[in-house]
Amino acid sequence: MAASRPLVSVYNEKGQSTGNSVVLPAVFRAPIRTDIVNFVHDQMRRNKRQARAVSDKAGEQTSAESWGTGRAVARIPRVRGGGTHRSGQGAFGNMCRGGRMYAPLKVWRKWHRKINLKQRRYALVSAIAASGVPSLVLAKGHSIETVPEIPLVLSDKIQDLKKTKEAVGVLRKIGAWSDILKVYASKHTRAGKGKMRNRRTVMKRGPVIIYDKDNGVKKAFRNIPGVSLLSVERLNLLRLAPGGHVGRFVIWTESAFKKLDALYGTWSKKSQLKVDFNLPQPIMTNSDLGRLLKAFEIQSVLRAPIKRQARRKVKKNPLKNISLMSRLNPYAAVQKRRTLLQQLKGRRTGTTAESKIAARKERTHASLKTKRLSGVNLVKKTKKQQIGATTTTTTTATKTTVSTKSS
């Protein structure tokens, strides 16, 4: 892993940088797997559920019996007896009024989920890593424009705060108050039945303060709306990635920040506080897509982009389309020109009826001539006429020549 681990400055409770700086823990360079975070969050969220079910007896507290066939009524069990509306009404079925529901809910439904330890840890590590990426934190919706640095590390003095007033002062000084204001602004009544179930208001989540030793931090910060408190040793994915989405605004205390390396390890060193755990390996060593796409090694092997697709062209008939014909057969133009010239000169080109008749006459004339002279073809014809003659002979062959082959 050639990921850089820069120095992170520590800020005091007045929002000024103290001289100290801490090397960024390796956790912040772990792969951010939002899919794992989403899954684990989803599973973890089920673990706080309380069982609910419908009474076993609901809908069964009748002695209804079906009337059977032959009474012009549907065959569901009906309540016995008389003297009340209830008598003769359908009972027991899920379709019946006052009947038992379909598949009555049971308390032994599986409410909680087991999650693999490795997965849990992976998700947590991803969530921590995401909290160190300002764009992800902004995307989550936190107001961190006035915060001096992400990850935000405050000195350990924070851990000793006792008064909420002081806590508020600290948040103001470090520029995190706008996030709290957002929380105030987001307070509204819940939609749904939760309203009447003691979950009346909802609001956004603000920053989470992660401390090492609680000397009063918890009590100081807990009344500020939106703020969550977490001990570094007991980090909670439900707080670090609320809603299953990574990138919560985290405020670390110095000792908490320093403990992260020991807790999660660096790739070269295993975790000291967790048994047999090291940070997950990323799949790509270099995931800088922009860089990769421009890299010479990749660019030189790519084929040229297809900017113009070859589309289907309508086939044109060269026998009618002159330009297409000349493209296919450059000699055709010459032939055509000659034909036209012959036509203009009034000579036979072998294409008109007159020329056909004339050609036939000439043939008979020629055959007579050859009878006198021994076999020598003395008929003088021009090139075009001969061509004309050939075409006529073939088309009128039906009349004059004897068919030599029978089918």
């Binding site: 270099n286 008939n317 493209r327 296919l328 000699y331 061509i387 062959a397």
Partner: protein, 255 residues
Amino acid sequence: MTDTVKKMDTKTTTKKAISKVPEVLLKKRKLYADLKAKRLRAQVQATKNKKYKRLVIFKRAEQYVSEYRKKERDLIRLKRSAKVRNNYHVEAEPSLAFVIRIRGIRGVHPRVKQVLRLFRLRQINNGIFVKLNKATVQMLRIAEPYIAWGYPNLKSIRELIYKRGFGKANKQRMPLSDNSVIEKALGKYNIICMEDLVHELFTVGENFKKASNFLWPFKLNNPKGGWRKKANHFADGGDFGNREQYINQLLRKMV
């Protein structure tokens, strides 16, 4: 893993500041410049080739015209000279046939079906050029009631190829709208243009099989003016079977 950014020396004493260009960009520019140069050279060569080819095609077409005429006149001359001596000139049996499938797909005898498949006549009114020899003539005899065939003349061949000619290029049915289609497929047999193709088919040449196979089976129209009676042999006033030179009349109506 990270590429170093190549920085030009800006500490020179020249007045102009040299811009810093990343190495990646420089490499890309060089690559593109090389490609462009190659492309332009290829273009120039291609136009030269094109010009030369056109000349070749022209010369060939001219030569073929005289060749066809010569063939025609030779035959006539031989016949006439024989007649004069009260002798007979028996011309060679035709070596080229054009076969059209007349009947449809349904209820075909398997033997006939196989023969038609071998001839690539899988659809009604499909036509192909066939070299006539003992083998093919016997095949035609098997499939006789399903086909109309005969001896095409030059005009028929030209009309078929120019108007209805499609070639097999990369297993696709490509229209013969440019000589390059023909050249790509049959260039190695010295057939580079439409006229070459026509010549190869008309004078059943060495590479007739390749030329005829390159051509996709012709998809013809129903004859304008109709059939006589598809159920009978041509000799019985119908349409199927060998109709020798009358195939040309039929083709005028079908192409």
